[in-house]
Every structure is written in C-alpha cells, then in structure tokens.
Subunit: 349 residues, 2 copies
C-alpha cells in the first residue's frame, strides 16, 4: 500500500501520556513521511504539545475526549464504562476504516477486551495471541502467546503457529519461517496431550511454515527457530523471567565494575563497549507487542515506554499494515480450511 | 545428626562419569570430614581413580556393577531393565538405610521414575517436585516444580509450597519463608482455576510459611519471595529460558568487549571484575536439584557437571540430611492433615 497510511493513537494511555505519545509520533513522522495521525484524547493537553511541533501538527488530527481507561481498571469495567474513552475511540477508528492500525500504551487487559469486542477475529482464527519479537544470538525471533490466553487447546496453538509464521514472514522477511512448539523436552513423548496434539496438527506439510517440532526454553536465546509457540500462561511467565534475568545480570555487571578502583577505571575505558551492549539489550528496541488474529491491527506499547520506545511500537503497526499481514493470514486460513474440508470429504467417501 | 553420614553415589551417571563423580567426592570429603561414600559402578574403572586419592579411598566402598542407565534411555525401559544399574543400586542403598542420600548426574527421567517406585512418597505428599536454588538480586530463592509434573492440581501446588518452605527453612536458614505462586499477574482475578484454588489453600494461616499471593516471572530475578511455586511445565520452560538468557547476555558481553582494540584493552584491565561476575553467575554453584517429597533424599546433578559442580550437588544432599528435611515435612503434613480433619469434623457437626 502507499500514500494512505493513517495511524490511530490512544494519546492518553501509558504512564507518561500524552507526552510520550506525541514524542513517539514525532519520531514516527520522520520515519514514515506518508503517515497521518489521529490523536484521541484531551484536546487541552494535546494542543499545546502539538503546537511545539508544526510538522507533526500538519499531519495530525485531534479527536477530543476527556475520558480514558485507568491503568488499574478491570477490563470488564473498562468495556462497559469506557465507550467514550480515548482507547475505545481509537479502536473504533480502525473498525470504521478511518485508520489502518491503533497503538496504545494503556491498560493491556482493557485494550485486549475492547479490541476483541470491537474488531472481532479474523476468519479461521478463534482467539487472539500477544506476539512480540525477542533478541536471540543470531537475530530476532517471534514469540506468542505472551499472555492473552491462560489455557489453550491444540487448535489455538496451531493457529498461533500460522499467525506467528505470517508475522515472521512479513516483519522479518523470512520466506518460510521455522516454527517450534515450546515444551519440557525435544522428544515426541514429552509434554501433555495438548502440545502433542498441536504438534500433530503443525506437522501438516501444506502449512506455509516449516515445523521443527518441540523446542525448549533455552532455544529462545539461541534463536533455534523463527517462531516460538506457547500457551499464554507459560509464555507470559517466560517473557517476564527473561526480562527479570536481563535486569539481574545488568545489576551483577554494574556491581562487578564498582567493586574496586581498578575495575572502575576499566569500566570507564569500556564505556563504548557498554554502550554497544546496552543498545543490544535495550527493551525499547523490542517495544510493541501485537494482538495477532484480530480483524484489525492493534499494537500494545509498554506502559512505561518513552518517546523512542513508543515510536518503535508505531513502527510495528506500520510494518504490519504495509505488508498486509491480516490479508495474508485470512488467505492462509481459508486455504487451510479448504484443504481440510476436502480431506474430511475424502475421508467420508 | 552426627558421625554417621553415608552418601550413595551413582558413579556411572553423567557425561563425564565416573571421573567427575570421584573428583566431586574428593572435594566433598574435605568439606564433610565425617562422610562415607558408597560408589556404585564399574570396579575396573573406579578402582584406579580411587587409588590416586588414598584419603577418599579410606572412606569409600565400591559396589560393583557393569550396568548403567544410558542418558537417552526412556524412563519406563530404565525401570524395567535397569534393576542392576548403578543408579538403581544407589537408590536401593537409601531405601535400605545403608545411605542417607543419593546423588546422580545421570538420566533425569529415569532417576525420577526409579526414585518414585523405590522410595515412594512422604506421608501427605502426592507427587514429587524438582526444586533448585536460583540466584536473585538479594541472595537465593528456591523454585519448584522444575519439570517433574506436566500438570498440577491445587493440592499439588499447596504441597509444593510446604515442601519449598521446609527446603528454604533448612537450606537457607529462614525461619518463616515467604512463598509466592507464579501467575500472569498479581491481582486475585488473574490466572486459571487451579492457581486461584491453590492460592486459597496457601492462604491458610496455620501453614508454616508466609504466603505472599501471586508473583510474576520477573519477581524471580528480584528475589521477591524465598520460594516460587509453579507447575512443572511452566517451571521447566522458565528455568531454561533463564539459563538461555544468561548465555545470550554473556555472549553479547563478550562481543561488546571484542568489538574494538580499546574495548579489548578495557576488557583485559577488567578481568578481575569479569572473574567476580563469572563466579556469581556460575551455574556450577547452583548445581544440584532435589526431588522433594520422596521418602528419601535424591539429588540430581547436571549431566555436564564437572567435579566442582558435582561436589555442590553432594552438598545439597548433605544439607538436607543434616537438617532432617524429610522429618520436618512429614511432621508438617501430619499437622496440616490433623487440623483440616478437625475443621472438616467441625463443619460436619
């Protein structure tokens, strides 16, 4: 697609909204010169911020509302009482075709609930999955579900595989992504019934992906496959364990370089090395988790993101729009249903 | 207990057995001068190794067998065909009271299966859990189950809480350990039915622990509680994700310090800082996962452990023996059953 890229932003979502949203939009405007922005939020707070950036103001429209979803609001309450909230109105813009994607740094549960109800699912997909990129030894891999579904059946995991592969194909540029199912061992006998059934479904050679069977937790850092599939309970716990480990290691590293004068001097001399390291593990680079499987593109920024991080979350949405990710998934699921419909007919005859 | 500490060693288990087993025993002999060792394995290979260490030989007995469990053997096959294996004979020594604990670096699944069948469970405990210490920002915490049980019910998780608390009390010296249940969020409404029911059971104030409710994946690195409780599926995936992340971070760090001449020089100057860092994240320090809940003390060393790592696994077993861990758990579960029996009676009247 070209020319007509409009991005809906929940300007009031996140710890430091609306400032970081406007900063992020300003960075994204430079990266995507053809983009237009719909800003949903408090006009009185947004106008002064926009007035300081004439170029951003020229491609932005403010849609005023004085309501927003609080960070600790229960999703069910947000759904019922938040009809005029900045989050809901921004999602509506995607539903109504006024924008091609929506980005919010607000309440994750509320964003998921509102998006599901407002946009509904893509044909052939039963449930949305939270998907994000994570750094590996050899590049980046996609991982899903990171917390949308506490319990998953084999069909959910199959669909996550197809969604994740389409995501890796379009965002990482890998023609036939490798997919692994996370489990407690690589042997076929490992794990419970659900992962075994999901593995059987994913082994279908007509799927647009290369299934590599079971993989283990340490395969994520090694980047053994392009797409890691897991239920949302274990996936969320793993993601946060990984984040916690990076923080712990960074703390140990700081302490080691503060433990003596000679190591302090070495640390000073090594500041360019530390800068390079910091850039590689910078969580802002990986900001922007998408809700895959919805009939509309929704990206969740970390609540504590700064402008740079929020701009990267916008970038994830733009990549998905430009590559027509949802059209690809729709086509693939239709083709899968057709093949399996024919198989079922053949079996019945 | 004092004086009579006998340790059964599966001398043939592990990638580098029997050499690392003998090296580990030699280190443990110095640490625990009152210990005796029963070595199960091939006499022709063990004798020459012992002959090089007269002090270890003086407190060791070789029990010859030429059979051992292969690393890739299925547990069910090992159980059936491994009756004369070094692993099974070493476990038998604990069952028969000839040793107080058994340490093996061999096949985890086989060790678990043989231990369950041979030793059976402690009264009041339905299933064993794999438990290990992990480093945190403020010290060490225990985490279980790390992979013994793919699916757990609320009672299993309650029992893991009691087992983990007893472990933390005796091995970390914490009178009333704090226990957290890993979940996808801290709020009471988060998670599936099993974790919610387990939380309700763990809230019982008469339990010998302080339940802190739900905790998240990043709480492990932060050390928010002394004991992290989780089912074996997510627990195993988290543990291995953490290991993979440490490897990835170490690789990034090496690359950053190799990226230019100035950073290489800084790295050279910082070698004492790196040494300190390496010692803190050294997986050998945390070697030795215990199978809690069995009526006998079983410690699993990493298969690729060296002598230092294997000695630490022996140390975990010795600590559990010296502190009478299993007696404590038995007493606590009996007391729990009695209280709840009385409550049930009170409710019935």
């Amino acid at each position: 697609m070209n020319g007509n890229l409009t991005i809906a932003l929940d300007a009031m979502g996140g710890d430091n909204a609306p400032e970081i949203v406007i900063k992020g939009a300003a960075i994204a405007r430079v990266r995507y010169p053809d983009a237009k922005f719909l800003l949903f939020g408090d006009h009185a707070r947004l106008r002064p911020l926009l007035d300081r950036n004439a170029k951003l103001a020229a491609v932005s429209t403010i849609h005023h509302t004085d309501q927003y979803v609080a960070a600790d609001e229960k999703p069910s309450i947000a759904l019922r009482k938040g009809r005029e909230s900045s989050m809901q109105l921004a999602i509506n813009a995607v539903r109504d075709g006024d924008a091609q994607c929506i980005i919010s740094a607000g309440n994750t549960g509320a964003l998921m609930a509102m998006s599901k109800v407002t946009l509904r699912m893509l044909p052939g997909i039963d449930r949305p999955a939270i998907c994000a990129l994570c750094p590996t030894r050899i590049g980046e891999s996609a991982m899903l579900d990171l917390g949308a579904n506490i319990e998953c059946d084999a069909n959910n995991l199959l669909q996550f595989g197809v969604l994740g592969a389409a995501y890796a194909r379009t965002l990482l540029g890998i023609e036939r992504p490798t997919v692994g199912l996370l489990n407690v061992g690589e042997e076929d006998i490992k794990g419970g019934d659900v992962v075994k059934q999901a593995a059987a479904l994913l082994r279908d050679p007509t799927l647009p992906l290369e299934f590599r069977g079971f993989v283990e937790g340490n395969d994520i850092g090694a980047g053994s496959v392009n797409v890691f599939v897991i239920d949302g309970f274990a996936g969320n716990l793993m993601l946060k364990s990984i984040e916690g480990t990076v923080q712990l290691y960074s703390e140990y590293l700081r302490q080691a370089f503060r433990s003596s004068w000679s190591s302090r001097i070495a640390g000073f001399l090594a500041r360019s090395a530390f800068k390079r390291l910091k850039a590689r593990i910078d969580p802002r680079r990986y900001n922007g988790a998408t809700f895959l499987g919805l009939n509309g593109i929704v990206v969740k920024s970390h609540g504590s993101a700064d402008g740079f991080g929020f701009a990267n979350a916008i970038g994830v949405g733009v990549d998905m729009v430009k590559n027509g990710l949802n059209d690809i998934v729709t086509r693939e699921m239709a083709s899968y249903a057709e093949r399996h419909g024919e198989q079922d007919k053949a079996l019945a005859n």
